[in-house]
Subunit: 347 residues, 2 copies
């Protein structure tokens, strides 16, 4: 890797002139500029951005912290790759780049974040997978690093976050099923401390109440958010004495494993068991019968998240005065065949 | 974000003493050290890593460039999340961190890489999705940035790479099908210029020759590497006048779309059409009939890739003297039901 000194020596020109040529300053003649740029290309000259950020106090890089846990790995959650395009669209307006920071599965997320912050690689952070109590939020607030979260948390005060409308999904799913006569409606929930699990189950409980259906804790099936988790959930549903007639899933890919396990027992989704999935996913689109689920644009979510973050960075705040600080992102119902039957028909 | 100056002012101690306390130097008394550390925690002091790297000439960060194209996004290729764990395991030995650099879909990968290199965020790079001609390889070689590639390329000379054994997969798939009497064996290939497509098709051609089967270009179906691509491939196979009796897929998730399209036409994989998939994937495990495919450990690949990279970094070279510079990564056949029939039975 060659620096400006090597370049100047090679060309036998002063460092000052080389620097002015590289930075497009007007007081360098065209011939010299051409020679400098050609040599820079030839020798593989690379500007020392690290020196620049030190002077300017910014790196022009935004970090997105993701988890590389076994669960995330096995299931290839495309959620963040989808959001990335929207984020990049927003950041490109200001020549900011997005880096993804994958937290190793055997490391405490807060310790990891502390180290990454100390590396001063990024100007601002986006964290995801927020836990019920999440020390990362306190850490970033204290260190005065601009940040935004994907997901809510009980931690800290009024920090900027965007979250999916888990309430709306639970509510509409229960309403739809109740209208078709279902009274024994099961739900899947994550087995971890992730905040969305609490939100989802609580909303489901309230929705049941609204329809006069008593809440039964044994119908909350806690499994991993994966295909395998869906398979496991189906297995547990089959073991229940008084089997539910409907199930609402919290994670898109669960439907794949659940369908398989049900089919193995001769139970057909949409005929013997009503299934409502969570987010519409490309691979769930190939399920038969087609899955009733909820649709949203990851790209648009990325745009909103990016703008919310910039609205919280001193350098860009004024450009984004109207950004919400807390956003509940809506999802739209996609009617499939997996819940297309009335419960009366079975009785 | 507070720096060392603010910390010193707050404590009314000299910057030098604060610095020595923070860096664990012995010439600071215990009481002062405790006060400094408590205040650092309280005020959210963060060491200026950017200043450090400038002096030490290294960032202790390794970059992994990935694509965030629509195709990658929609299909959530978990390949790199899987490899990440192995890489992190190796890098942790040397307190190196891994960042993922997602190249926006509308940006030229080489220009993107040039910019990221100029940012000096990383000490070394891993690139993936190598193209037949890949200017990134020349760029990194010229800039003398240590790197390793996932995938081969015709570009540059003897650069360090690791690649899947596409030859072996094509060869064993054709051999297996030929042994069961198949003569009309189709193959799917990517519609892009990615190098692996060329390797796969060429190996398939040679394998056919070995078994005395003439190569027929119309049996090479070029589609996107996705579920939808699999659906499209099935559609094109159904349109062929003399329909193939077998198909070999280049991408794991293609099987999901292909199964669906075949089922829609009443064609059952493993009975009417032999299907051999590529890499074993969690969601393909729920297909019925089960898919014959190939298994590998992404984690182990990550380990080998990480060690190969370190063997090419001056600071770590001596610790990894025996690392291969070019590695073809083997895959192991997993026998499923999707190709479990002999062609004679159909005639």
């Amino acid at each position: 890797m060659r620096g400006i000194r090597q370049l100047a020596e090679h060309l036998d020109i002063s460092i000052g002139t080389v620097s002015r040529a590289l930075n497009g300053k007007p007081d360098v003649n065209e011939e010299t500029r051409r020679r400098v740029l050609a040599a820079a290309e030839e020798l593989g000259y690379v500007a020392n951005q690290s020196g620049r950020s030190l002077r300017q106090g910014e790196t022009k890089v935004i970090g997105l912290m993701i988890e590389s846990s076994q669960e995330a790995v096995e299931n290839a959650d495309n959620f963040f790759l989808g959001v990335t395009s929207g984020l990049q669209h927003v950041f490109a307006r200001h020549k900011l780049d997005l880096l993804m920071l994958p937290c190793p599965s055997d490391e405490d997320p807060c310790e990891y974040l502390k180290r990454m912050v100390a590396r001063r690689v990024v100007d601002a952070m986006i964290i995801s997978n927020t836990q019920r109590i999440d020390r990362r939020i306190d850490l970033l607030s204290r260190a005065r690093i601009p940040f935004a979260a994907v997901g809510r948390s009980l931690s800290a005060g009024n920090f900027p976050w965007i979250d999916l409308d888990f309430e709306g999904v639970a509510e509409r799913a229960v309403e739809r099923l109740a209208a078709r006569g279902h009274r024994r409606i099961a739900i899947t929930a994550p087995s971890s401390e992730v905040n969305l699990g609490y939100v989802f189950v609580e909303s489901y409980r309230r929705a049941l109440e609204k329809h006069g259906i008593p809440f039964n804790p044994s119908l909350v099936i806690r499994v991993k958010s994966s295909e395998q988790g869906g398979y496991q959930a189906a297995h547990e549903l089959l073991l229940l004495e008084d089997r539910p007639t409907a199930v609402v899933l919290i994670y898109e890919l669960m439907a794949i494993g659940l369908y398989r396990r049900m089919m193995e027992s001769g139970i057909v989704p949409g005929r013997d068991l009503a299934v409502i999935g969570f987010r519409d996913a490309p691979r769930a689109r190939f399920l038969q019968p087609s899955l009733s689920c909820f649709r949203m644009s990851l790209y648009d979510l990325g745009i909103a998240l990016g703008e919310m973050l910039l609205a919280n960075m001193p350098a860009y705040r004024e450009l984004y005065p109207d950004c919400g600080r807390n956003i509940i992102w809506p999802l739209e119902l996609v009617q499939g065949e997996s819940d297309a039957f009335e419960i009366e028909a079975m009785v």
